[in-house]
Symmetry: C2
Subunit: 224 residues, 2 copies
């Protein structure tokens, strides 16, 4: 019971900081997404392909969360966009305070329209932590099994979008996209699903067009 | 700082319970492993293939940990071995107390020689929690990227064995087994690595023979 109370207190403090961050992001016209998945589902590749397609159309910044190493931010350096690495040490998720600390860095970049936060690879705890983002985007790869939404429901419940990634490997697994969607929609009927492959490029234009539209809608709403 | 102290206290209490469990397992000649990986690395398939190969040679019991659902324990029911599901609710890892609570169930099975604990799919927190097992076994699939040991070092540091799984998919990814091993051994030079595929069966006999040897060694040590 004691642990539950401590947990609730931490989450409530987190929520308070996240709300403040979200308000400031909205005031500055920054649309933000928080990518959450298991380790190795292809989050960094998704970020790379998204930046490649959208960087001449909208101004993007990336916050990359990892337990250790700055391998992810190094991969993104070549795109000449603002990238900040947050190394969490032992923490298995980013929290609102970690993101809060890099907000001043983000604001001096000027004119950022889309902030992509790549969370630590973990399907469990990141689902519980609001970072101040506009929406969570769940990523799962087809090699992980189509039962994942049932086994890790919090993430699918907390997300607005789902990317089913590595579809190039579909022929080599018993993963069924239909079954995965059915399982995911059982948890969250409002979830919008995209199928992507960073190897063949399939589905990436559709995903990026949708993301761009969301950025534009947000800008319209913020400007009103 | 407060959170760090709470964390240290929880881990110290966990350690105390785990030590007690380990002592009782050893007294009863039960060798136990704790399988840890990301969601979808193939832990349950590894357990199935291991049980298939070893169930007529040694008496096996399985504890399957999951956030939600009993899908994993259902998959194991067909082998007619003792299987216990622990559903953790929101917790992203098993802890020593959760395992402790099912110890009476385990002991009434009688004569169990090998206990396989399949942890919640998570590469981060399960590495920190001793459940009373003899050793942790890390599992990673080749679709997750060969940089995982550097990005999630705690698990590779805490494990004695590493299974590189889904090697049937090697030809369709840029994963290098050599690079993965090099990265894993940088973190833990004592790590013993097995390459496995539950689709082709490659490496499973080697893995199972090694596991059986460990069970026999433990029995000899316990009997002395």
């Amino acid at each position: 019971m004691h642990d539950v109370l401590i947990g609730a207190k931490i989450l409530s403090k987190n929520e308070e900081i996240a709300q403040r961050t979200r308000k400031e992001f909205n005031q500055r016209g920054i649309f933000s997404i928080n990518l959450v998945s298991s380790p190795g589902s292809g989050k960094t590749s998704i970020v790379e392909k998204t930046v490649e397609r959208l960087k001449d159309r909208i101004k993007i910044a990336v916050i990359a969360g990892d337990i250790q190493t700055d391998l992810d931010s190094k991969r993104l350096k070549k795109y000449a966009i603002p990238v900040k690495q947050i190394t969490t040490g032992r923490a298995c998720h980013l929290d609102a305070l970690m993101v809060r600390r890099v907000v001043p860095w983000l604001f001096v970049q000027g004119g950022v329209e889309l902030l992509i936060i790549e969370n630590v690879g973990n399907m469990v705890c990141p689902a519980e932590y609001d970072l101040g983002e506009d929406m969570k985007v769940a990523v799962m790869s087809v090699t992980e099994g189509d039962d994942k939404p049932l086994k890790y429901p919090s993430l699918f419940h907390a997300s607005r979008l789902l990317l089913i990634n590595k579809t190039d490997l579909l022929g080599y697994t018993d993963f069924s996209v239909d079954r995965a969607c059915e399982n995911a929609l059982k948890i969250n009927p409002a979830l919008r699903v995209f199928e992507t492959s960073c190897v063949t490029g399939a589905g990436l234009d559709t995903w990026c067009d949708h993301l761009e539209e969301m950025v534009e809608c947000q800008a319209t709403i913020d400007g009103q």
